[in-house]
């Protein structure tokens, strides 16, 4: 079996890593935002007059959950730059 070029190995590993980083990173915040949105709708159904106040904190929770995926996205972009380079 011929020797692998180390540069190609790095490219392949970073391509794989970039895909996996964003894919696995999105799972957690997907679940988090899902739970937050579910509870938000539940609370509106129970108390329709609380919608205005609840929405603010839903958006905060949404943004905080989303940040984790964005960190993963950043890592994924950094790995993506390494492909072929």
């Amino acid at each position: 079996m011929e020797m692998l070029d180390p540069k190609m190995l790095i490219s392949a590993a970073s391509a794989l890593g970039a895909g996996m980083a964003i894919g696995l990173g999105a799972i957690g915040s997907g679940i988090g935002i899902g739970v937050a949105a579910g509870k938000f709708i539940e609370s509106i159904a129970r108390q329709p007059e609380s919608e205005g106040k609840t929405r603010t904190w839903f958006l905060v929770a949404y943004a905080l959950c989303e940040t984790q995926t964005l960190f993963a996205f950043l890592i994924s972009i950094m790995l993506f730059m390494k492909i072929g380079g």
Binding site: K53, T56, L59, V60, Y62, A63, L64, E66, T67, L70, F71, F73, L74
Partner: protein
């Protein structure tokens, strides 16, 4: 991409700013353009002020009243003194992000240095407010509620405090930058009509929510800094 004169401001051959490369100085020039547009818009609204608002005045007024209500809701009646910071953050994010959707323009918020600068301003400002208003009381909340746990809590609280500007930076930057990347990818797939769908999503959902979230978190952090003053 840099030498193809893709962006409109490149056509004017503005000088490269000191300490920056060509692309970075282009971002700074676009930031100035955004600032000019904001100032011109606000001046236009003020000059054409009417008691019964219409058109542009309606838009600006609804944004300012929206922010005002949230300030009073979250910080309390004292909150209005922080209104200038929060409204400038909101307007800057909105204008700077929307300008990137026009062809030949670029979003300054899609670069990590711009958002980092904004986050650092917010961080320094609310620390200053906390220390000048609360004094030792503000610094005491870093120790946590239980005296025994204090040495451990100091480390935790410090890390979480410094994570705040970092997460503010990355959230805004990655949202705008990611949106632009997806538009570019969609242009590669099918150039006519298809990218507009994502542009619509970006302009209706992502940009207003990100602008709102950044200013809302600023208000929440300010409320945390002011709260130590409220207790006595």
């Amino acid at each position: 991409m840099e030498h193809s004169e893709f962006y409109i401001l490149e056509k004017f051959h503005l000088p490269v700013l000191p300490f920056l490369n060509e692309h970075e100085s282009l971002v700074v020039e676009y930031t100035w353009l955004v600032m000019l547009i904001i100032i011109a818009t606000i001046l236009f609204v003020i000059v054409k002020w009417k008691t019964i608002p219409s058109g542009l005045q309606n838009v600006i007024e609804s944004i300012t009243i929206f922010i005002e209500n949230y300030l009073i809701d979250i910080i309390g009646s004292k909150g209005l003194s922080y209104f200038p910071l929060v409204i400038s953050i909101m307007l800057f994010i909105l204008f700077a992000s929307y300008i990137g959707l026009l062809p030949g323009m670029l979003s300054p918020t899609g670069y990590i240095s711009t958002t980092a600068a904004m986050a650092i301003v917010v961080f320094v400002f609310y620390q200053y407010i906390g220390i000048s208003k609360g004094g030792l009381k503000y610094l005491k909340h870093f120790l946590g509620p239980v005296p025994v746990m204090a040495p451990f809590m100091v480390i935790m609280e410090t890390i979480s405090e410094f994570a705040r500007p970092f997460s503010l930076t990355v959230r805004l930057f990655a949202n705008i930058f990611g949106g632009e990347m997806i538009i570019k990818l969609l242009f590669g797939i099918f150039a006519i009509g298809f990218p507009v769908v994502w542009m619509l999503w970006d302009s209706i959902i992502t940009i207003p929510i990100q602008g709102f979230i950044f200013s809302l978190l600023t208000m929440v952090y300010l409320a945390g800094a002011v709260a130590s003053d409220h207790e006595n």
